[in-house]
Symmetry: C2
Subunit: 259 residues, 2 copies
């Protein structure tokens, strides 16, 4: 008996027309029945934002004759897209949610700013196995070909093995040729941060304003981190949880005088 | 010799004019030298969003003669406010960052949607001890008086004891009178989630749109959770980490066939 094809929800934060999501859709079409519900405009760095004080619009898009997927664009954030897809668009809970492929890294601390990963996390909170994919190349002309092999491998393994409860995957792919990529490493999130620099300017009316710029600082020398893996030619896979409790710190805080 | 007064950054996500932040400023003025850098408009449910494709404006506000704090309103998100404050406004790294008091709960899974907590987490990534405060009352007329005692207690304990590295606090305060609040409990984040319901409507031009609504579902019966503490009259304190790695899952994922 043929195995039932999985129902796959595809989303991203760069918007439904981004090359990264087109690459992801192409791979997912080889694996399952694909519904795309993604923002109608770029939503980078939106984190886990949701739309609570505004309306949400959702449009069914036409796809070309030889494309099997269904596509919907949504006026909201990546997390809105997941909520709308699961509750209003898909006929049943999807077997898998994939988000991306993001144009740019979501490794290390970037996971907390990332709309791509927030969409994956949102699906995770709904009990849906979920993976966010990012390529370390911000360019619109980025080459997603070398990434496809690893996306397929990881999605198939995820379908076969399942994911531990409360865990989603953060997958980052180095900007390298297929030959140069050395393989896959399961990692922890590097303990890095951003040091911001604001570019202060004056507008034509004489009012000061700022542009946010920053430098990524990684002082974590561990060889078990995503930053190490990526710098050494590996695809990094970090299992990410949305129980943010620092369980190890509960004992510490309980020594405080709190009565 | 008198102890040096700590430099305290105050922010929130309900906007600089919200009653919750006014209550927090009042308490912080009794403890240290206060700089307020907060959004010029409500930014609820913004999660860890940052402004990367737009300008940021920042205005120094006038305070009344008898108010000692400095105040700045910012056109960005709560996380933008923290970045701007630390890099452009404050003369040195603050000794503490407090965010809130949020109008409404940020307990359990709400921590991942919360602008209040994202501001606290951002300060945490910069190495600043940091606490987010929320009152379980959405009303603009909420009574913040009973909360003030616990805010003062927790901030003083935080200054005295410090926080473990990579940990910030998520403090939620029940909507109860001073007499009814039973004390403080250090907790873990309850394993709860939102079940969304979308209210589908048609606009005057005949186009469908949605309002996001939802129901909070908590099937976690543990008595060590924030939900239990709040339901039983306690102030909940959850230590929150921004290393999202599910360390326990690394071994599992390493059993996958990844080569």
């Amino acid at each position: 008996m043929a195995k039932k094809r999985p129902l796959i929800l595809v989303t991203n934060d760069d918007g439904i027309t981004a090359p990264g999501i087109r690459a992801l859709i192409e791979v997912m079409n080889t694996i399952g029945d694909v519904y795309v519900v993604a923002p109608d405009a770029p939503q980078s760095a939106m984190g886990h934002a949701i739309t609570i004080n505004d309306t949400l619009y959702c449009n069914k898009l036409k796809v070309t004759k030889d494309e099997p997927q269904q596509e919907y664009s949504c006026s909201g954030t990546p997390v809105d897209c997941v909520k709308l897809a699961v509750n209003e668009i898909l006929k049943r809970k999807p077997d898998l949610c994939v988000s991306g492929v993001n144009h740019g890294s979501n490794s290390s601390i970037n996971v907390i700013y990332s709309g791509t990963m927030s969409a994956a996390v949102e699906a995770g909170t709904l009990g849906i196995p979920s993976i966010g994919f990012s390529l370390l190349d911000y360019s619109l002309e980025a080459d997603f070909e070398p990434a496809k092999k690893y996306i397929k491998l990881l999605v198939n393994q995820c379908i076969e093995n399942g994911l531990p409860k409360g865990v989603v995957l953060n997958v980052n792919i180095p900007k390298l040729s297929a030959k140069e990529i050395k393989g896959v490493k399961v990692c922890r999130q590097a303990n890095a941060h951003w040091e911001e620099k604001f570019d202060k300017r004056t507008n034509p009316l004489g009012r000061d304003y700022y542009w946010l710029t920053g430098e990524f600082v990684n002082n974590d020398k561990g060889e078990d981190t995503d930053e190490w893996a990526l710098a050494n030619g590996f695809v990094s896979v970090v299992p990410v949880q949305f129980d943010l409790t620092a369980h190890h710190a509960i004992k510490d805080i309980n020594t405080w005088e709190l009565s």
